[in-house]
Subunit: 139 residues, 4 copies
């Protein structure tokens, strides 16, 4: 469906909660970082450049679905394996698999859309069709 890119994370003390394990929203934060890393590694400009060249502000989230299998703690190195498993007309679906070496810790999907500012109201954003050239870079 697409290339797979790997984003590496080292868990910090401050990422962990009173149970001593990663506070789960941090997995979402790392998946988000891995999504941006995926596009940059595939040759897409980071959002702050793309907004200037093409008006694309990024790929806001529409939906996330995550399963947590095993906990992680600080000092550990994790790898987020990210790909695109579905391309729709206006949305696409990421798969993220968070590994600690060979061990799968957590797995999730994200539905996102490329968005631009609404020309009629700059405080609003709206989805645009998935750009074909960006899609091509990811294959």
């Amino acid at each position: 469906m697409s290339k797979t890119q790997i984003y590496e994370v080292e868990v910090m003390f401050g990422d962990c909660d009173p149970a001593g394990i990663v506070f789960f929203p941090n997995f979402s934060k790392w998946m988000d970082a891995s999504s941006l890393n995926f596009f940059v590694k595939c040759g897409v400009q980071p959002w702050r450049e793309l907004v200037k060249t093409r008006g694309i502000i990024g790929t806001p989230l529409l939906e996330i679905h995550t399963k947590f299998m095993k906990p992680a703690t600080y000092g550990e190195r994790l790898q987020v394996h990210t790909s695109v498993i579905e391309w729709g007309a206006k949305v696409f679906k990421h798969q993220h698999r968070v590994m600690r070496g060979d061990t799968l810790l957590c797995e999730g999907t994200e539905v996102r859309a490329f968005c631009e500012r609404d020309p009629a109201d700059a405080s609003r954003i709206r989805a645009i069709p998935v750009p074909e050239d960006i899609k091509a870079l990811c294959h």
Copy 2:
């Protein structure tokens, strides 16, 4: 299925990302806070007490599923409406609806389990049956 409890949040500048809107993992953080608030409002002890009295360390996440409808920004007050929509033998499912007044911003479910330290290995945790007395308090 259960009572509904409301947790109120005021969005901080630091909760928002370069697009000027709430960075989405913060919605998960607030749902987590609203889950704990749900049990405390229903009369359950906070986890740091429950671990002393009954060995229950909290309700770790097994799965989350969230849909994002509308963005929010700093200075806004949000209300997370939280209930339990399913009780299983060892797991239960929360519903969280994040509102800004009458407007639904984001909606999600969480599957959680009450957990204790594994007596054989204190560095591991394991799910226990949903305590009947806690379930009763939530109705």
Copy 3:
């Protein structure tokens, strides 16, 4: 020197670290929220409005100095008492006192400057003289 405004915080589980106490950078996050709240309560527009009406993007930090006296944990309600204790030509100094009722938990100062985009390079920001009308609102 200025009015004092109070910002209230309820500590979340996810604000706490493996020692079970507030992870200290969260105190900085709350002081930042309390700084913005200070100006809004004094009658100043939030930054996203001020940038449109006057080009002021906010009050970035130049320096912070914080002493931590006592820890806090989740479920507790804290009050950040915020004032301005020095007005310079281009900078000002906040004092923040984080209280849990009558108990002082942590105390800090922040040096900040009102800033605008550099007209010569929109990716850079620069300090402007402290606006007299905003200063007047804070007294």
Copy 4:
């Protein structure tokens, strides 16, 4: 005074605020991670091991002082250069210099103490004399 250890950070989108730059408390979070990394690189066990072997829960913060010179944004790689610049009887002082290559972005000190649980009340912590063997490892 001590060795200098370097902790590397890649700035994430979610580390940045509506101004598009790193939200400043994240610099404190990275300095904290760099402090722990400093001790581990010097040969000290991570806190979750040290608490089992010697009852030391970590090195809570007493005071921080940070100056912010230049902003950073997402996608950039930063290096936190960390050393100990003062050893007291019960406290020590870290220096952290956050660099982006040759450019100094922010500089700070932290005063910390090695702490253990209070034997009379496990919910409280107390400072212990700086362990001589740990000090020796850092030179």
